[in-house]
């Protein structure tokens, strides 16, 4: 299992696209901190990068990689290896490679320019999002045989969680504005990993605003130690559940 993971990791780290992705993140983060005269605005741009570009890159790259290495996977399956191990090592290799790319591309500049709790939260959330979207992409590709449809599904999933979900939530918030929605909103925020990561970062970044009435519920829940623990667990569940489902799908898959 270790060997397979090592091979996948080495293969991806040498991959031109991942190198390009790392370089892009690095250039954007460095220029963001270099151009803006206040580091807060830089963090804001990085927030958008972390919440939009990172999930997109992770989900699309993983899906494509998965389809392109179909023959390699077939070869592995013919070896005396358990399918579960093959799948998990693929996941570990992909997740590790993309996390390393994020850590180098965004983590390093943040540590250099904004070594604060906000920065740390953002880097941790970015890594979590990378891993989560790798897991989701694996699920999409394990369930779909056709490459085009698989990639399409991946893009749709990304679009859903980064844009459509928020639009739906906003719509329902307005439709149901007569009801006390504060507590249900906390629950709803668990249903989208991007929202969850964003709220965790907001709690550091816009702490003054969230101290007011509008942020009261989030502060009371996410601001406490239990809240942070629960949200960390939720982020882990966002890795574990798709991964478990995809492993099950792969084990039964007719290659």
């Amino acid at each position: 299992m270790k060997k397979v993971m090592k091979y996948v990791l080495a293969d991806i780290l040498r991959n031109r696209i991942v190198l390009l992705y790392t370089a892009l993140l690095l250039v954007v983060s460095c220029s963001v901190f270099g151009l803006e005269d206040n580091a807060d605005k830089g963090m804001l741009s990085l927030l958008n990068l972390t919440l939009i570009i990172v999930p997109m890159m992770c989900i699309i790259f993983t899906t494509i990689y998965q389809y392109n290495s179909a023959e390699f996977i077939e070869l592995l399956v013919s070896q005396p290896l358990r399918r579960r191990h093959i799948w998990l090592s693929l996941f570990a290799g992909l997740a590790a490679a993309l996390s390393i790319a994020f850590l180098v591309g965004v983590g390093l500049p943040v540590i250099l320019f904004q070594p604060s709790l906000t920065g740390l939260t953002m880097v941790l959330c970015g890594v979590a999002l990378s891993v989560i979207f790798v897991a989701i992409a694996l699920l999409a590709s394990a369930r779909t045989r056709d490459k085009a449809r698989g990639i399409g599904k991946a893009i749709l999933l990304w679009l859903f969680w980064s844009l459509l979900w928020d639009a739906l939530v906003l719509f329902f918030l307005f439709q149901l504005s007569d009801y006390p929605l504060e507590k249900p909103m906390v629950l709803v925020s668990f249903l989208n990993p991007i929202d969850l990561a964003r709220i965790l970062i907001l709690l550091r970044m816009d702490v003054s605003a969230l101290m007011g009435y509008s942020g009261a519920v989030f502060r009371e829940f996410f601001g406490t130690g239990t809240g942070i623990l629960v949200s960390a667990l939720a982020l882990m569940a966002w890795v574990a559940v798709p991964l478990w489902l995809s492993t099950r799908a792969f084990r039964k898959k007719d290659l």
Binding site: N38, D40, K41, L44, L47, N48, L51, I52, S162, L163, D166, A167, V169, L170, L173, F174, S177, L181, E182, M185, V188, S189, I194, D195, R198, I199, L202, M205, D206, V207, S208, A209, L210, M211, G212, Y213, S214, G215, A216, V217, F218
Partner: protein, 429 residues
């Protein structure tokens, strides 16, 4: 004949001189009385003293209940004598003019739900000075009613109340005039400084922090100036109401967090100046309602939740040359029309350009974001703040204002900051 006249006039002159000098010494030579533990008590000294005498109070712990200071005396503590009210009494009641109280440590005043019991209470005193005293664990610190021209300077107030109704204010003035409140440090009281019907007074270089309710609270106190004070970490910030003609220069309003906490709340304030102040890390930096003809100039709003909340009831206010930096929301309002004037402010969220290179952006800036309006009406929507969706909505609203007031805009936003940020090291959150 002539010599006799000369002798007589010399004699008369000498007599007169002697009389004058006798009178003079009796006027000038005020006595100095000394109170010490085991010796004379403070009350005895006051009874024996005449107006204008000096009373030195030596170090020690005095339990004398209520001390009635009804003569013009100079009270001075040596080595911080402690005057203890045993949680029952008002410690010093001043019923005279031109009293001077210095160097005392005044602790444990009583508490009553009927009377406002203070460490030192001035009853209609004129020209008195209360300087460099320490107040510890009192209900009210210094209380002045009908005071005139009094100076309260360099005192230190500490109180440990937990609830608003069980504690009193640090410096409380009621129906006073021409007061000077300078360089006091106030912590843990209900309101740091409280004014009601106090006119023509100056509040200068005080540090009012960590109070249960407001750092500064005044009503009906016209023509007062507030200069270079620090109001930080107070339960509800600073609230000022029903007053005209106030001047607030170079104050700091910081770290006031909470649902109803404001850096500075203005309610029914008019014809006033707010200039050169620094609002940072407040849930709401400056909240204005029913306020008119206020000049808000050269202030810095930095890292607040809402930098400025200006209600529809405000009119003819001018906001010029202010800096808005790193705030979650710059301006929020509940009205669709704006009757206030914004110009030449610096907004860090401004995305326009300056082709003329005159330092002023060529495109107007609309500081009210769509989302701040959405959050006003629908607080749980805060959950979506900074999401892709909301950013898109905000951008479209900026191009074509439909919900936010189109008239609330800065036609000449500055490209660079107006005010050099104060050189201070911030404590972290």
């Amino acid at each position: 004949m002539q010599s006799a006249f000369a002798r007589r006039s010399i004699f008369l002159f000498c007599c007169f001189g002697a009389l004058i000098s006798m009178l003079h010494t009796s006027l000038i030579q005020a006595a100095t009385l000394e109170a010490r533990p085991g010796g004379k008590s403070i009350k005895t000294c006051i009874d024996q003293a005449r107006a204008g005498d000096t009373l030195l109070i030596h170090a020690g712990h005095y339990h004398e209940g209520n001390i009635n200071l009804n003569k013009r005396l100079y009270l001075r503590g040596i080595g911080w004598p402690v005057l203890d009210g045993d949680k029952k009494y008002e410690i010093i009641s001043v019923h005279a003019d031109s009293v001077h109280i210095e160097g005392l440590r005044i602790i444990n005043s009583g508490y009553s739900s009927l009377n406002d019991i203070a460490g030192i209470r001035l009853y209609g005193s004129k020209g008195s000075t209360i300087r460099n005293n320490q107040f510890d664990n009192n209900c009210f610190g210094v209380y002045s009613e009908y005071g005139r021209s009094c100076l309260i300077e360099g005192n230190r107030f500490r109180a440990y109340g937990k609830e608003e109704i069980l504690s009193g204010n640090g410096i409380h003035c009621w129906k006073s005039d021409d007061m000077r409140i300078i360089g006091n440090d106030i912590q843990g009281q209900r309101d740091g400084i409280y004014f009601e019907f106090v006119t023509n007074s100056i509040i200068w270089r005080n540090n009012s922090h960590g109070n249960i309710r407001y750092g500064l609270h005044f009503m009906f106190s016209h023509h007062d100036a507030y200069i270079s004070n620090i109001f930080s970490r107070n339960g509800a910030g600073v609230a000022v109401m029903f007053t005209h003609g106030i001047r607030m220069f170079n104050n700091f309003f910081e770290w006031n967090w909470g649902d109803a906490a404001y850096g500075l709340l203005l309610k029914e304030i008019s014809d006033s100046y707010i200039e050169g102040n620094y609002f940072s890390h407040n849930t709401t930096g400056l909240h204005m309602e029913g306020s008119s003809r206020i000049q808000i100039l050269r202030n810095v709003f930095e890292r607040n939740g809402f930098a400025l909340r200006i209600q529809g009831s405000c009119e003819d206010d001018s906001l010029l040359h202010n800096d808005f930096v790193g705030n979650t929301f710059d301006v929020a309002t509940n009205s669709s029309v704006s009757r206030n004037f914004f110009s030449e402010n610096y907004w860090d969220k401004y995305e326009g350009y300056d082709l003329k290179h005159d330092g002023i952006g060529d495109v107007p800036y609309h500081p009210v974001s769509l989302f701040s309006t959405v959050v006003e009406n629908n607080p749980p929507a805060m959950m979506l703040f900074r999401s892709f969706m909301v950013t898109l909505l905000d951008k479209t609203e900026k191009v074509l204002p439909s919900i936010t007031p189109a008239g609330l805009k800065d036609d000449s936003p500055m490209m660079k900051r107006n005010v050099r940020p104060p050189n201070i090291k911030h404590e972290s959150g």
